[in-house]
């Protein structure tokens, strides 16, 4: 029997290997890469000037602003929630820990459309809190608070699920040493825990931002799609598409695509850093 080096298949399967790689590369180019490239091709189909005019259109600028505001509110809140959840679950033992972890992951399994319907049933005019909100003149649905709340629901697990496994794997010996040395809670967190989890935290925040910026279904339900008022960037893409303004839709979409690509690049950099 010839001895093949460990982890390597004999020469006759080289051809099979090449076929599989070719198939994987070909399918991915057609299925994943083409849609990504096509967005920019279409956005710039009529040149830079038309592209710039589309982006600088007041309705598009307003959509960009609304999406940015939403992300600025949602991401820090979810970072706080992610840290709190990870700290509670990874550094302490209490009954119902497993259930809590499953609960944190639930928004991942619930379609954003369902989340939107839940919020509409709770805060909408016919909703459970509708009469009370109206009596106090508080507008949640069809306004910024509704958009923010649904986005919080959809993106809630992103930071927690990155930080939690890392905190669990690292254990709490270092923190316990800091306690015996007389450090207080804030000192332990900022000087011991935070340096250990900073890349996972940043990675989770990046994913959370990408998802918050791109949320469509849930926001679509609670925003009411009011042109120039509650139209976030993804909703604006749909509106332009329905207006048969394809180049405009692709221009708006290209800004979202750029954010996604930047998020992926940051992810690649952070992963390289975590491995080294």
């Amino acid at each position: 029997m010839t001895t093949a080096p460990l982890g390597q298949l004999p020469g006759q399967t080289r051809r099979g290997e090449r076929i599989l790689i070719g198939l994987a590369v070909g399918l991915t180019l057609l299925f994943i890469a083409a849609p990504l490239v096509f967005i920019f091709v279409r956005a710039f189909a009529q040149g830079w000037q038309v592209y710039a005019a589309n982006i600088l259109h007041p309705a598009t600028l307003h959509a960009i602003w609304l999406t940015t505001i939403t992300a600025i509110i949602v991401v820090p809140l979810n970072v706080g929630f992610g840290i709190a959840a990870a700290w509670a679950v990874a550094k302490h033992r209490f009954p119902g820990r497993g259930i809590l972890v499953t609960l944190i992951e639930i928004p991942f399994s619930i379609s954003p459309i369902i989340a939107g319907i839940c919020y509409l049933l709770l805060y909408g005019r016919q909703g459970l809190l509708g009469p009370w909100l109206q009596a106090n003149d508080i507008q949640v649905v069809f306004a910024l608070p509704g958009i923010v709340l649904v986005t919080m629901f959809v993106t809630a697990p992103f930071v927690a699920r990155e930080v939690l496994p890392l905190m669990q794997a690292q254990g709490s010996e270092q923190e316990q040493a800091a306690v015996t040395l007389g450090a207080n809670g804030w000192q332990i967190f900022t000087r011991v825990t935070l340096p250990n989890i900073k890349w996972a935290l940043l990675y989770g925040a990046v994913l959370c931002t990408a998802r918050a910026v791109g949320e469509f279904g849930g926001v679509s339900v609670v925003s009411g799609n009011i042109r120039g008022q509650t139209n976030t960037l993804p909703l604006h893409v749909e509106l332009l598409f329905n207006d048969l303004n394809a180049v405009g839709a692709f221009a708006a979409a290209s800004t979202l695509t750029l954010i996604a690509v930047v998020a992926l690049v940051i992810k690649a950099i952070l992963e390289g850093r975590r491995q080294s």
């Binding site: 093949a4 460990l6 982890g7 290997e17 599989l20 994987a24 399918l27 299925f31 994943i32 890469a33 083409a34 849609p35 990504l36 096509f38 967005i39 279409r42 929630f81 709190a84 959840a85 509670a88 550094k91 302490h92 944190i104 992951e105 639930i106 399994s109 619930i110 379609s111 954003p112 459309i113 369902i114 319907i117 839940c118 509409l120 049933l121 016919q126 459970l128 629901f153 809630a156 709490s172 316990q176 306690v179 015996t180 207080n184 809670g185 332990i188 791109g214 949320e215 469509f216 279904g217 679509s220 893409v237 749909e238 598409f241 839709a249 979409a253 695509t257 996604a260 690509v261 992926l264």
Partner: protein
Amino acid sequence: MTAAATHTGAPIRAKRVLPGFTLSLGTTLLYMTFIVLIPVITLILKGAEIGPERFWRIISSPRAVAAFQITLTAALIATAFNAIYGLLMAWVLVRYEFRGKRILDALMDVPFALPTAVAGLSLTALFSANGWFGPVLDAMGIQVVYTIWGIALAMAFTSVPFVVRTVQPVLEDMDPALEQAALTLGARPWAIFTRVVFPAILPAWLAGCTTAFARSLGEFGAIVFIAGNLPFRTEIAALLAYIRLEEFDYNGAAAIALVLLAFALVLLVVSNVLQAWASRHREASR
């Protein structure tokens, strides 16, 4: 307080030594309650308020049944495709070294990072008559846009990373000695794959497919662009719920949403069971 905690002896020592337990757990529970639990419970209460008889009438109406059928069929097609394509990608990315591998790996995250509306817009344009793929497929007599194939395509695009990213780590962890042993015993590559590799990754693969299927059932953003949204033909369940809301038929929307929620929760349980099986498997094969 610290002194007391360190002096209480071994069994409870690790219990609450670290500060911030009340604060962190309190924040977590408060956030979960207001952001997730109360809204979801509101939907369930709404469903209870409708009553079983009316509930059944809503979800068994011909249009709703057609929407559920279309959603399930398209999700099955999408998952079948992803089961094969996702497995191929995981295998190629773990087992082979070639130029551009890191880019290929990064591309697998695109469907997660790209907003679904953008994916839907791009896929629709790509596969329509004046896109890159539309004319080619048209010549072959295949219509994708405004058909169930378009729905399945959008679902497959948005859910493929679930399969790849679940199978990949298990393949990476596999002990090469098993395959070496099979090889020295004279097994052919295909036999090694079906008898040694595949059984080891089966639980993870099934878990990934279940998650991808669940994601496909709930997908909305990518589909509304490509489906054409014709009742009885290309109208998915999530969209029908959305239409009911626009008609101010909150009962109709809530009933359909509850059915989708039930599907999602059942699939979550199935996926968790499969994941647990997968991690037991991994421990055993190490």
